[in-house]
Amino acid sequence: MFDFSIVTSSIHAWLSEYLSQGLAIFVECVAVGIGILALYAIIAIIMIYMERKVCAAFQCRIGPVRVGPFGLFQLIADVIKMLIKEIIIISHSDKFLYNLAPYVVIVGSVLAFACLPISQGLEILDFNIGVFFFLAVSSIGVIGILLAGWSSNNKFSLIGAMRSGSQMISYELSIGLSVLTVVALAGTMQFSEIVAMQSSGWLLFKGHIPAVIAFVVYLIAANAECNRGPFDLPEAESELTAGFHTEYSGMHFGLFYVAEFVNLFIVSAFAATVFLGGWMPFHVSGLDGFNRIMDYIPGALWFFGKSFFLVWVLMWIKWTFPRLRVDQILQLEWKYLVPIGLVNLSIMALCAVFGWHF
């Protein structure tokens, strides 16, 4: 397995030769920042293309085909369109908050994105409370959505924002509980260690029943956290036209749009990392030959493969079900997911204590 830290440390060594220590780190930070933003944008584009094609396939359509081969350049056309559109500022809005909101959303999203270990040694933020940090920054987005809804001076936006607030804060809980279940099994909150300990088998299999339940609960809650169907109440287009971003146009709308899609990727990638071993290849303990073959596939491929598979599953869910109603969403959370999560956590605690896992 190729360890990416060899590359990073050699770059660091090379930079340190020419620059002072502080300056070298500064240059590295800038490079990493640019890199992560570029990756963020690329993933956003891939996600949007994927959404269109996947959704089309579920709906007996073929999706975009006109611009470029398989409609690939449609995305570029979209990006250009989004960039050159005028940003309209509503005259009776709270202008400062109105302009701030999309950036709050995108900042939360990028911070969470930075936590994900893409391959061995290729991780940007990796410290001992990584999972905790991830959960914390990923919930910054709700502030942006609330700001957007409040400052637009639009009744639909406000209702959308309020729905979003109650929904996202509630589902935070389930995400926390299901992640905690895995942390109880893994015994660490550091992403690199969580991934490393899955070399002998993914946590989903290691933790058997409670881990599977936690995985399902996590997927449901994460879907709700991303405001994706069937939990897309804040922007339920048949009720609130476009919900909290009704009044946004141009790139400001684009930021919400991009953040929504990348958030979907982030939650899938997080699930892939925590439950499905992240960049760790599929290993079966005992079958060394098989494991070695698996190791030839690069970690990044494993990571993106698993993530996009989960993205596909979430899209499948979105494009199958009707939307829930706001009280039903809260009911699902407080009457079903939270109790299940709590019971599941205790079971997992017992399993971890008594070693009833693989």
Partner: protein, 541 residues
């Protein structure tokens, strides 16, 4: 005691005329209130269903309102109540909207068209035209004001109600529909869930609905006014544009009305073709209903499944009629062209295919737990309210009211085929949804029985180039895709109708939406609106 005797006993001045299918009673406006209360409350009469309410301008004789009443207890009890308002300067008449709630919007329509003021009506605004419109367009002496007013309409939430003071003089009082502190949201006219340009003013308390006010008229085209200057052949082409998902059925109604009035006998072949076409159209409409219903509830994929299968029916219809939406197929005296040679084969293919599609719908949506939770118990419309609002069609049948015109007053060849009238007693959105799904199956059964037995004969009877309908008034109804579609025709023997009124299938549904959705959530309003399945051009006409 017969209805006739009872009325003549109580109201000696009333003129009563007995027709084969109904009783025509003519009275003066002062008697209306007393008469209406008796017709509605009397145990032996109990005319609880108002089929239609039509405004009239009888020239010298004054204005008039024609009420078509029916008793849900006995289908034979049909009454046409003609009320004359002799005073053309101050046309006042008492409201009956407290007895038959369907009059709430219909009386506003009459006010809009003729300027007849209904005393006691809670909300005497115009219904379709803008509030500053000058004059009343369906009056025979109406002259259109010069130029068009292109200014924006000022938002105004106040309305007028009329009452009699202690001397019996009519007086008006203005009041506001919404308080200043209420959180009023506009749903529409441009909104994804109103299926066209319908506007609801909704007062919210958090997510809950406190009050709803309907604004119609955004695509009002004045079809009834247009018809008064057209020949009969020309008027039928406008019916396709009312409820565009029942275009064949609408046209069937008007053609049938004129044919009956002229005493034209049609061959069996015509009746068979018309019936099959009506049922194909019904399946088409219900498939579209399924599609949009799912879309409104957020299940976009099911939307595409519905559309995919509807396309097959459209192809069949297009092959024979030459149109996909506005088909222009029925004509006075038959149908425009004989069925296409491929028709029977293709219909059979469709009938073989549809069960698979329906099974798919069942699995993906009907049985879905989310859909069930969203729909069961939501949007309760009691049987009494359904009758009072005149909410016919699947909506009425979802409220346990057997109101199918095909069974009540059979036309076409519906009396020769065996089919079930689907009625459910849950009274909620889910019942309204399931009824439409089951009706698709019933329609398939009807077509299955008929398709192999289309008799030989003319597909079109000979008519004169200029059609003149004998003097008199005629009312005919068909079961359109979403309820009773009625045509009221008053003829003076000219080549164009004196007055042609279309009983909209959607207007009663819209009238009831405030009652149905009050206290529910916004998301429920969308589900309710979708389950009522109104079509806006049909409401606005």
């Amino acid at each position: 005691m017969s209805v006739q005797n009872k009325i003549s006993q109580q109201f000696p001045t009333a003129q009563i005329e007995e027709k084969s299918d109904r009783l025509i009673v003519s009275i003066n406006a002062e008697l209306l209130r007393e008469m209406a209360v008796m017709l509605y409350n009397d145990k032996e009469l109990r005319f609880d269903f108002m089929r239609s309410l039509t405004g009239m301008d009888w020239g010298e004789a004054g204005f008039g309102v024609v009420y078509h009443l029916e008793s849900t207890e006995d289908i034979k009890r049909q009454l046409e109540l003609k009320v004359v308002i002799p005073d053309r300067e101050n046309p006042f008449i008492d409201t009956v909207s407290d007895l038959w709630k369907t009059a709430l919007l219909n009386e506003r329509e009459v006010y809009d068209y003729f300027g007849v003021i209904f005393i006691g009506h809670p909300d005497m605004r115009r219904l379709y035209l803008r509030s500053e419109w000058k004059g009343f367009p369906l009056r025979k002496d109406y002259v259109r004001a010069e130029g068009l007013d292109m200014t924006n309409e000022e938002p105004d939430d106040s309305t007028v109600t009329w009452y009699r003071d202690k001397n019996g003089v009519p007086r008006s009082r203005r009041y506001n529909l919404f308080e200043s502190g209420e959180y009023v949201v506009n749903i529409g006219p441009q909104h994804p869930a109103t299926h066209g340009v319908l506007r609801f003013r909704v007062s919210l308390e958090g997510e809950f609905l406190k009050k709803l006010d309907v604004h119609c008229g955004y695509i009002h085209r004045g079809v009834e006014k247009l018809c008064e200057s057209m020949t009969y052949q020309q008027t039928i082409s406008l019916t396709d544009r009312l409820d565009y998902l029942s275009s064949l059925q609408n046209r069937h109604a008007l053609c049938m009305c004129v044919e009956k009035a002229m005493g034209l006998e049609l061959s069996d072949r015509i009746q068979y073709i018309r019936t099959i076409m009506d049922e194909l159209q019904r399946i088409n409409s219900h498939l579209l209903f399924f599609a949009t219903f799912c879309m409104d509830l957020g299940a976009l994929t099911s939307f595409f499944y519905g559309f995919r299968d509807r396309e097959k029916i459209l192809d069949i219809l297009e092959e024979t009629t030459g149109g996909r939406l506005t088909m222009h197929y029925n004509v006075i005296g038959g149908v425009e062209e004989d069925i296409h040679p491929n028709f029977v084969k293709r219909v059979k293919e469709l009938l073989a295919y549809l069960p698979y599609a329906l099974e798919e719908y069942r699995k993906v949506f009907t049985e879905n737990i989310i859909a069930k939770n969203r729909l069961i118990g939501v949007g309760h419309l009691s049987r009494e309210d359904a009758i009072s609002f005149g909410a016919t069609g699947p909506t009425g049948r979802g409220s346990n009211w057997a109101c199918d015109v095909r069974k009540r007053i059979p036309y076409g060849v519906y009396d020769k085929v065996d089919f079930k009238e689907i009625v459910r007693s849950e009274c909620d959105s889910y019942a309204r949804y399931l009824i439409r799904m089951d009706e698709i199956k019933e329609s398939m059964r009807i077509i299955e029985t008929l398709i192999d037995n289309i008799p030989e004969g003319n597909y079109r009877e000979k008519t004169k180039a200029v059609i003149r309908v004998p003097e008199g008034s005629y009312y005919t109804a068909v079961e359109a895709s979403r309820g009773e579609f009625g045509v009221y025709l008053e003829s003076r023997g000219d080549k164009s109708p004196y007055r042609l009124k279309f009983r909209s299938t959607g207007l009663p549904l819209i009238a009831g939406i405030d009652t149905i959705s009050r206290g529910e959530k916004i998301a429920d309003l969308i589900a309710i609106g979708a389950s009522l399945d109104y079509v806006v051009p049909d409401i606005d006409r």
